[in-house]
Symmetry: C2
Subunit: 460 residues, 2 copies
C-alpha cells in the first residue's frame, strides 16, 4: 500500500481499519472459489460515507475497489484478480429496521444471512431465499450475486425481494434507489440492475428487503429411483402437475454412493434420490401438495419412499442431503462447483449430459441440486498439481457450459459469473446483449474501477 | 407523413399496415389518460424484424417512435406528445408457447391480458398480476408500465414474472435478454431494466412470463367501518398479523356513497369498506387466513361483516367494489386517476391526507384501491373548461404527490410515470438517482427517439 494512499485511508476509516499486513493480504487473496490473487490492501468501513470517501480516493489514484462480504462466493467474485483495495463490509452489520406491517427489513450489507432469519423468526416471518452458505454469507453478497438456494422454485431469488438499495456509485456519489413500497412503477428499475452486478457497478451499503410470513406446516418426503432418468422425469411430472413444492432436491448415484460409504445412514443402492418439501399454514395444504408429488414419483418407479411423520424424522431425511456437499470433497485436493441451470423439463438431459462429460475426463464428481428450479450443482474433484487433471477440468466445464446453453439454460443459476464463468458469457449472451451490458458498464463505471475482471463483458 | 418515409414504411410492413389518415391520427392522439397530441402516422408491424426496420428508419430520419398496446394507460405513456410514429403492436398478438413444466408462457406484446388467462385456465395455471384493464390491455403494456393490480401484496407485480425479453433497441438492433430458467445470476439484469421503462429504452417484441398454479380455494369477505381511520388500522393489523390475503381492497366514504346512490345494492352508511380475499389449494388454508383478517377487522370496529358462503355470494360482494370505478366518473366531464403508493403502515395517513387536500380544492372525488399493498387510487373529477377547476386539479395532484413522498411513498405504484407524473419525478428521486437514470437513457438512446417526453429524466 503506497504511503500516501494508506495515510488517506487511515483518515477516512481510522487507523485500526486499514491493513496491508502480509497475513491480511493472503487472507483477502481468496474466497471459496478456486481462484486467488493478492490485493494491495484492505479496509473495514463502518458507514456509507466512509465507503463513498474510499471510492473517491480510488478515483483520485486509479486503483480498483473490490467489495467483499464473507468471502463464501464460489465464482471468484471477491478475489482481487487485478489487485486493488478490498473493501470488507463485514463490519457494516447492523439490522436497521424490521417493519412487519410494511413487510420490510432494512439491513447493512455485512449482516450475516442467518442473523436476519434469527431476528425474523420470533415474528413468524422469514426472508425466503436460502443460500447453502447461509450461516456465513452476508446479505450484501446475496445481493451482489442474486443468490438463490433451495426454495427458489416456489419463492424466487434474492432479486425478487430487494425493494430498495443505497449504493456508492463508481464516482463515489451516494445513490438511494428503489422504494420501500410493495409496488412501484416510477422510472427505471436501478435497484434490480444492481442486484446480481457483483460489485461491478458500485458498492451496496444498505438494503431494503421484502420479508414474508413463514409457513408453519411442512411435509418432507424422500424417495429413491432405479434410474436417474426416472428421477428427472418425476421432477418434470411434479412441476407439470401444478404442485408447488417449496423444495425439490435431486442427488445422483455418486452422491448417494459417497454418503452410503462414509456414513451409517440407512440408504439403499439407487441411481438417484429426490427430497421433497411442501409447506403451508394449515396441515392439509402441504399434505395435498405432497400427495401430488408422491403420485408423480410412484409413476416414475420410485422405491423406498419415506414420508416424515415428525420434525425429527424430517431431520433424518435431510441428513442424507446435507452430507453430500461436505463428504464429496475428499477424493482430490481441489474441486470446482458449478450452478448450471436449465428449464425444468430439460433437467434429465442436463444431468445425463453432465455425467457423460465428466466420466469422459475420468474425474471424480457428484451431481446434486435444486431440480425443482432446474439448478444443478456438479462438483468436480481434481488435483491442480496433475497437469492432465488441471487441463481436464477446464475442458469438462467448458463442455458443461456448452451443453447447458444448448438446453436453453444459464451458465450461472445462483453463484454469479465472477472470474470462473466470465470466459463463457458469450455462450449464453449474444453479441448484441453483451454490447448492451458493456454500454451500461461503461456508462456507470467508465474507468473500470469497480471489481474489474468480474462478469467482464469488456473482454467476452 | 412525408412521402419518402411513408414509402419506406410501406415497404417494411406492407401498404395496408401504414396510415396517416385523419381518423387514425385522431385515434392515436389519445390513450386512457387526460393527455393528447397528434402523431405523424401509425404502423402495425407483425414481426420483430419489421419493428427493427421501422426503428432503423426512425434513426435515418430522426423521428420519434411511440410503441403502443391497447391504449388503456392512465399516465399518457402512449400519447405521442412530441409527434412521431405510433408503432401499434396489437397485431403481434400470438401466444407462442405455453410450457407448464417450465412454468413459462412466451407471448408477443400485443396479446390481450385476458386472452393469456383464458389460455392458461384449462391447465389450472395463471399469470398472477391483474391490472383492472385486463379485458383490454396488452401484455406489452403490462411490461412497459410494470403493471400491478389487486393481487400484488401476495403475488407481486409484472416485473416479478418477466423472465426473458426480445427487445428492438433504439438503434434498431434486436436483443434477446433474460433467461427461460427459473433462476439466473448471469450478468446484468437487462430484462427487468426494460420492464417499467415505458418504451423509452426500446420496443419489447417478445415476452417470456413465469406462470403459477392457480389456487382453487378462495374465501371472500367484506366489512364496513364507522371511520376511515379504523379501516386503515385494520389493514395494518391484517398485514401485521402475518396473514397474507390475496386481495385487500379499500373504499372510502365517497366511493360507498356513489354506489349506494346509484345502484340498488344493499350497502349500509359507512365511512369505509374493506373487501378481503384469501386463497389456497385446500379449503382450510384460505379460511385460516380469513379468520386472522376478520379478527383484525373486528378489533377495529368493523360492522356488517359479510363472509361469502358460495361463489355467487362472493360475486355479490365484488359487485360493490366493481361499481365504484365505473360510477364515480359522472360528477364532471373530466377526471384524473392516480396510483400513489405508500408502505402499508402509512395507508391511514395517506388516505386522510388525500381527502383533506381534495376537499380543500372543492372537487368531487373518490378514493379506493389496493390497501393491502399500500396502493391507493384517488380519482378526481373536474371540468377542463372551468379554469379554476383545471388549475385546482393540477395543484391538488401536486400536493398529493408531496404528501405521498413525505410518507416514504412512490408517485406511481402501477400505472407508470408517462407524461402525467414526469414533472414530479424529482419529489421521489433525488438528483443522483435521476442522474443515473439519465446516464442509462443517454447510453441506450442517445438521440432520444424512443417515446420521448415520457418518464423524462432529461428534464426533471
Amino acid at each position: 500500500l503506497e504511503a500516501r494512499i494508506k495515510q488517506s485511508l487511515r483518515k477516512i476509516v481510522g487507523e485500526e481499519n486499514v491493513s496491508d499486513s502480509f497475513m491480511d493480504l493472503v487472507v483477502y487473496s481468496y474466497d471459496a472459489s478456486d481462484h486467488d490473487h493478492r490485493p494491495m490492501g484492505a479496509v473495514w468501513p463502518t458507514s456509507t460515507e466512509q465507503v463513498s470517501e474510499v471510492v473517491k480516493l480510488a478515483n483520485e489514484h486509479g486503483f480498483p475497489v473490490i467489495p467483499r462480504g464473507a468471502g463464501t462466493g464460489l465464482a471468484g467474485g471477491a478475489v482481487p484478480v487485478l489487485g486493488g483495495l478490498v473493501v470488507d463490509l463485514s463490519r457494516m452489520n447492523r439490522i436497521l429496521e424490521i417493519r412487519i406491517t410494511d413487510r420490510l427489513a432494512i439491513v447493512e450489507p455485512g449482516v450475516v444471512y442467518m442473523d436476519l432469519q434469527n431476528t425474523l423468526a420470533p415474528y413468524g416471518f422469514f426472508f425466503p431465499p436460502d443460500p447453502a452458505s447461509g450461516k456465513a454469507c452476508t446479505l450484501g453478497g446475496n445481493v451482489a450475486t442474486n443468490a438463490g438456494g433451495l426454495r427458489a422454485a416456489k419463492y424466487g431469488v434474492t432479486r425478487d425481494y430487494v425493494m430498495g438499495l443505497k449504493v456508492v456509485l463508481p464516482d463515489g456519489r451516494i445513490m438511494k434507489t428503489g422504494s420501500h413500497c410493495m409496488k412501484t412503477s416510477s422510472g427505471y428499475d436501478l435497484a434490480r440492475l444492481f442486484v446480481g452486478s457483483e460489485g461491478t457497478l458500485g458498492v451496496v451499503t444498505e438494503i431494503a428487503l421484502k420479508i414474508s410470513p413463514k409457513p408453519t406446516e411442512v411435509k418432507t418426503c424422500l424417495a429413491f429411483f432405479p434410474r436417474l432418468h426416472d428421477a428427472g422425469q418425476a421432477v418434470a411430472d411434479i412441476t407439470g402437475s401444478g404442485a408447488a413444492p417449496s423444495i425439490l432436491e435431486l442427488m445422483d448415484a455418486n452422491s448417494i454412493r459417497v454418503v452410503r460409504a462414509r456414513t451409517s445412514l440407512d440408504i439403499p443402492e439407487a441411481d438417484a434420490m429426490l427430497l421433497v418439501e411442501t409447506d403451508g399454514f394449515t396441515e392439509k395444504e402441504p399434505a395435498f401438495q405432497m400427495d401430488k408429488a408422491i403420485k408423480a414419483m410412484e409413476k416414475n418407479h420410485a422405491f423406498n419412499i419415506r414420508y416424515a411423520k415428525s420434525a425429527k424424522e424430517a431431520e433424518d431425511l435431510w441428513s442424507i442431503r446435507k452430507a453430500v456437499a461436505i463428504l464429496a470433497s475428499g477424493a482430490r485436493p481441489n474441486s470446482v462447483s458449478g450452478d448450471v441451470t436449465v428449464p425444468v423439463s430439460r433437467v434429465p438431459e442436463l444431468v445425463d449430459g453432465i455425467e457423460e462429460i465428466i466420466t469422459r475426463y475420468g474425474l471424480p464428481y457428484v451431481v446434486f441440486g435444486h431440480a425443482g428450479d432446474g439448478n444443478m450443482h456438479p462438483k468436480i474433484m481434481y488435483d491442480r498439481n496433475i497437469p492432465e487433471e488441471a487441463r481436464g477440468i477446464e475442458k469438462a466445464w467448458e463442455e458443461i457450459f456448452v451443453l447447458t446453453t444448448n438446453l436453453d439454460g444459464t451458465i450461472s443459476g445462483e453463484h454469479g459469473i465472477g472470474i470462473a464463468k466470465a470466459p463463457y458469457m458469450y455462450l449464453e449472451h449474444d453479441e448484441v446483449e453483451r454490447d448492451v451490458m458493456r454500454i451500461v458498464k461503461h456508462a456507470l463505471d467508465p474507468r473500470n474501477l469497480m471489481n474489474p475482471g468480474k462478469i467482464d463483458v469488456e473482454k467476452s
